[in-house]
């Protein structure tokens, strides 16, 4: 797709059963792609916050935003890519840690600001947060054979400054 840009869309929706499937359904029914999707209740238990990462040209993104707004359960949404915002993702990674690898892996984790959550005589389990790109870099830096398991949460994000998405 030409001019296809990555967009992070953050949605406040009614915390009702089926609300998530309405969003997921919309994307599959209309052929939009979802790169990642995270959802959890907010401080207000009647509301869920959903963050989804998608890509498309300007027209596609405009339609996605309109179609999402049209869902009855969607209260408000913001395209974080259109504003100053930060994006964070959590990654848990289990690596081999044998011999020289042990020091190397610990050093790498430190450089990327990670925490080692669990240690065995042959593995580390590391926690890392950051923008998706940073997590990608970490994965590139680690020797491929050393990776045993990777879990990523998908991106969440928030606008910077005084702008806030609330009811």
């Amino acid at each position: 797709m030409n001019n296809s840009n990555r967009h992070v869309i953050s949605i406040l929706m009614e915390n009702e059963s089926g609300a998530l499937s309405r969003v997921a359904n919309l994307f599959s029914a209309r052929g939009y792609n979802i790169e990642s999707l995270t959802v959890a209740p907010t401080d207000d238990p009647t509301l869920s916050r959903l963050t989804l990462v998608t890509s498309g040209n300007e027209q596609v993104i405009e339609q996605i935003v309109k179609q999402l707004n049209k869902l009855i359960d969607v209260v408000k949404l913001i395209d974080l890519s259109e504003t100053d915002s930060i994006e964070r993702e959590l990654m848990l990674i289990k690596t081999k840690a044998l011999g020289e690898q042990r020091a190397e892996m610990m050093r790498l984790s430190e450089i990327f600001g990670g925490h080692i959550l669990d240690v065995t005589d042959s593995t580390y389990t590391i926690e890392l947060t950051g923008p998706g790109g940073k997590l990608d870099s970490f994965l590139r830096a680690v020797e491929k054979d050393a990776i045993l398991e990777v879990v990523r949460s998908g991106a969440t994000g928030i606008a910077l400054g005084q702008k806030a998405l609330h009811v």
């Binding site: 029914a29 339609q63 309109k66 707004n69 049209k70 009855i72 359960d73 009811v167």
Partner: protein, 581 residues
Amino acid sequence: MEPITGAEILVRCLKDEGVEYLFGYPGGSVLHIYDELYKQEDVKHILVRHEQGAVHAADGYSRASGKPGVVLVTSGPGVTNAVTGIATAYMDSIPLVVFTGQVPTALIGNDAFQEVDTVGITRPCVKHNFLVKDVRLLAETVKKAFYIAMTGRPGPVLVDLPKDITITKTEYHYPKKVKLRSYNPTVKGHAGQIRKAVDMILSAKRPMLYTGGGVILSDGSAELVELTQLLGYPITQTLMGLGAYPATDKQFIGMLGMHGTYEANMAMHECDTLIAIGARFDDRVTGKIDKFCPTARIVHVDIDPSSISKNVKVDIPIVGSVPNVLRAMINVIRDEKLKPDTEALTQWWRQIDEWRKMESLRYRPSTEVIKPQFVVEKLYQVTEGQAIITSDVGQHQMWAAQYYLFDRPRQWINSGGLGTMGFGLPAAMGAKFAFPDQDVACITGDGSIQMMLQELATMKQYNTPVKIINLNNGYLGMVRQWQEFFYQKRYSMTYFEALPNFVMLAEAYGHVGMKIERPGDVEGALREAFAMKDRTVFLDFVTDPSENVFPMIPAGGGQNEMLLAERDDMVSTHEEGMVLV
């Protein structure tokens, strides 16, 4: 207040909502509700013969009256049978409230008898749906369902009712109003945008009004007529928009799109300013999208923001309800005494009149064989253009749209978006419930009519006299036409080698059947049928099997690339069109 059961609450809600007719079919999960219906007479239940018929009937009732159509079906197969009807209403934005039975809450997810995931199955084809899990929320949910169905861009809303909810008791209170923080449709158009639009509209040299079903759904016909006549501009309407502006007025230049008139499609192609009102730039209208209105600036008025710039990028979008926005436009024009460019307009009309001379709806008359177009023309004459017409889907639908001139909104009822064969007969029944004193005719074909025949029994039971105009050519005509043009006449599975004797069939259901085989008998038969005010009459017209619908824009063609009757060789000119529908 005395606690009452969920079933009783539901029936009370329907009464308080002013529901006159409930179209439905009983079953295990809705027995409590049917027991409550039995005890009262305010809400009249219409027992159909198939759940799809119930939804189409409610849909026809709604399209004719402007009121919401209300349906009640049982769980499982009751729901799956109703889905086609719901999807039909969804595609044409028809307000329905569909109540479905569900297995008891405790059994949901256990593959219980007659269980389906109703909310899941219907999610893509409803405006919204609810599963009621607490009887205390029932009345409020019903109110929300009617509110959502009827406001904004209307549509079907489904309420799924587990059986235990209908027997559990609580106090009844029906809210007068509901508010949803997440749903607040914009009705009033943006004043600045309206002002900009008026300037653009009045600066046009070759203007064109293109209006759709939204005008009818929003009851914006009076405003549309006023604005159009104030401007003096040509107007075309979509299949769904017919009747909003009177077809017999000289400013109306016919339907546009795949089977639109030559003048409407040429004017669309050549216009410099397009004013789209309550229309959604459907592929049957636009033809090939990059050849659509190549020289036009576009104003688009629609209540649904997602309809705007979906298929075609527009210059001035206005979100709001049609009557509201048009009234505001009229006020600006009148208050400021603004005038269109009359000189340019005169020239533009001269050009349009040239196109009109093509007489693109002309067909070759016959004294030997009945031409389907001729039947529709005669129907128009015999009913003096006053009947409510429903149609099924196919060639007959296009001929109905082309040759019956609709002068008022809600007079023309058809499945435009989903194109559901079988829609016409139950929809006609629903329209007859809404207007028992008006003539209602269902224009159908031998293919479509066989998809919902069973409703003839319902029509007998409730005495809803409808005239069924069966344009019987023995073929699935529209598919046959495409096979003739684009598949070198390989008529794959489009000929019915066996058809029922429709006259005997009508009689078997207790109605009147007539078979008409000669052109000279058409008018007499129609007059005889319409004279039988209290009878449903099945008129089986044996028509020319080789007749095609013209003009036609082949898939992949631009609006100016029409095929015209007796003038064009019917071969596919667009290879890319073969992948389109």
